[in-house]
Amino acid sequence: MQQNQETALDIRGLRTEFKVGGRWYPAVRDLSLDVAENETLAIVGESGSGKSVTALSILRLLPQAGARIGAGEVLFEGRDLTKLSEREMSSVRGNSIAMIFQEPMTSLNPTMTVGEQIAEAITIHRGASQADAMAEALRLLKEVKIPSADSRLHDYPHQFSGGMRQRVMIAMALACRPKVLLADEPTTALDVTIQAQVLMQLDELKEAYGMSVVFITHNLGVVAQIADRVAVMYAGEVVELATVDALFANPAHPYTVALLRTMPRADRATESLEPIPGSVPPVTAMPEGCAYASRCPLKQPSCEDKRPELLPFDGPGHQVRCPVRLEQTRG
């Protein structure tokens, strides 16, 4: 958390489970994260690390059958979202907490104009008249810099390019002036020049609206561009939490270190990429001890016995789930 700032969203001990072959297995374990007002927290991890499941758990968008929040609290505006009724939850979703997804075309209604879709959220959550809501929709389209917004208001989603559709999604998410925006890989499907535009725009809008942003991505380059703080996830757990500068300057967890070495850079030569050997353990066969132990170059026999805790590392707010690294820096 940044200094002197209120916490906007506080996740404590979240455990999200999925049912596989009649048994419940945790896809997210013991996850505690907070996001300060006006802060961008990036959650970075590879496929299956639990980063999207975390976002879906916050908004309770998990499938009805076969998934459940097994433990933990999601504290927002003095309430625990996990305890709300479905009806109370719908007044939070798309209102004070909004979400944008990777593929906007699957989240937009193809039979409604984009203006109607943006206005819909405003009429539902704010009780505005249709005319007022459409006027606000137009203002939002201009705010996200859609060219000739006046006429595009009456266009359908298929008439927009991928980058423009993502802007429409952002406009829709902003419609009710959310406190928290959950962005799940919002630029992954976009070309790099468009990605750069959307990233910079998100950053400007965060300032303008005073939002907190939880930005989920697999791309460390994107993290470096947009985040204030970063949580690195592996196999359903946060393995490292740090400010963006500390994470890239002084990565602590062996997984973070390895991840940084696997990424080839456009701006300088990478002599040799070092792939991470092995693969992520399946959710149905999580080891007793550290989930990364089987792939870790620092592994000690004790790593396989006991699950490590997320503990303070050197530097303010820097935490790491690796006793070996902690030992090294202390010793």
């Binding site: 991928g162 020049t193 080839p264």
Partner: protein
């Protein structure tokens, strides 16, 4: 054109598509997906083809193997005219030039084991006895880093990275000389991406393979390819040695592409003062240099005339009337 040097030489390649024109559809239009594309891949080297969606890079890749028939230009592999080849000669060429796709799952038959999938190209090309085929398959599967037991399993039993290894093994069984790789690592996580790039590097060094490597990721291309061609709306706008092109781009589009590529370093945040617009539709490209509506340097002839790909020092080429200036990188005057 020298015969038998093992190089792939592409000259003035063009591919046009028509869209619309149906009974109820919009007006018929010609889309010039690939225009006047020329490059050479010498034996044992990798050439990168980078650009954003719709720039024509995949169309180029497919045209080379005649998976799409090009409309104009020449494709010569090891002295043999690919476009004129027919029957047995074409089949022979296709053995020597193989393609690896982005998503191997969609190119593997889910009802066939990996053994069957790898056998098929050998049977099609009638290469060897049953025993020789079995040996070839075993070599290929070990070469891509999978255990022999993988051969008896089905595609759904493998992860994305493993499937890509299978896709590569299937290309390898025919002992090709050139591999056209169309976004081979784009669908993979970075740690897996690094594994696959390692496999490809090893093959290039050990087998002396040549690669045409299509990608939108400048980092991957910089790592894997000695030389690079940057494409924009169906044309090559710049080419040269990869590190030099990305460090000292001549074409403003190359510079935009490089500056937009996020790097894992928070002290090097994007400072794009002016990123403008989107890629125009290939069905309705702007006149003159197709990049001019997004270009900060556009002036004069940019709006009306298509710039030629001019020679610069150090074997560089750029299609721009107002290229970026770098010391020691002047345009070579009237090279003809």
């Amino acid at each position: 054109m020298t015969a038998g040097n093992g190089a792939l030489e592409v000259r003035n390649l063009a591919k046009h598509f028509t869209i619309g024109g149906g009974l109820f559809g919009p007006e018929k239009k010609l889309v010039r997906a690939v225009n006047d594309v020329s490059f050479t891949v010498p034996k044992g080297t990798s050439l990168g083809l980078v650009g954003e969606s719709g720039c024509g890079k995949s169309t180029v890749a497919r045209s080379l193997l005649r998976l799409i028939e090009p409309d104009a230009g020449s494709v010569v592999f090891d002295g043999i005219d690919v476009r004129a080849a027919k029957g047995a000669a074409l089949r022979q060429l296709r053995r020597r030039m193989q393609i690896v796709f982005q998503d191997p799952y969609s190119s593997l038959n889910p009802r066939r084991t990996i053994q069957q999938a790898l056998e098929e190209p050998l049977r099609v090309h009638r290469l060897g006895t049953a025993r020789e085929i079995a040996e070839k398959i075993e070599t290929a599967i070990t070469e891509v880093g999978l255990p022999k037991q993988a051969l008896d399993r089905y595609p759904h039993e493998f992860s994305g990275g493993q499937r890509q290894r299978i896709g590569i093994a299937r290309a390898l069984v025919l002992d090709p000389e050139l591999i056209v790789a169309d976004e081979p690592v784009s669908a993979l996580d970075v740690s897996v991406q690094a594994q696959i790039l390692r496999v490809l590097e090893r093959l290039r060094d050990k087998r002396g393979l040549s690669f045409l490597f299509v990608s939108h990721d400048l980092g991957v291309v910089r790592h894997f390819c000695e030389r690079v061609c940057v494409m924009y709306l169906g044309r090559i706008v710049e080419q040269g040695v990869t590190a030099e092109v990305f460090d000292r781009p001549l074409h403003p589009y190359t510079k935009l592409l490089r500056d937009s590529s996020p790097v894992p370093d928070p002290t090097a945040r994007l400072t794009l003062t002016k990123i403008m617009g989107e890629v125009p539709s290939a069905a309705n490209p702007p006149p003159g240099c197709t990049f001019h509506p997004r270009c900060v340097r556009a002036a004069g002839p940019c709006m009306t005339d298509i710039p030629a790909l001019n020679e610069h020092d150090r074997g560089r080429q750029a299609a721009c009337y107002h290229p970026e200036t770098w010391p020691g990188l002047q345009a070579v005057a009237a090279a003809g």
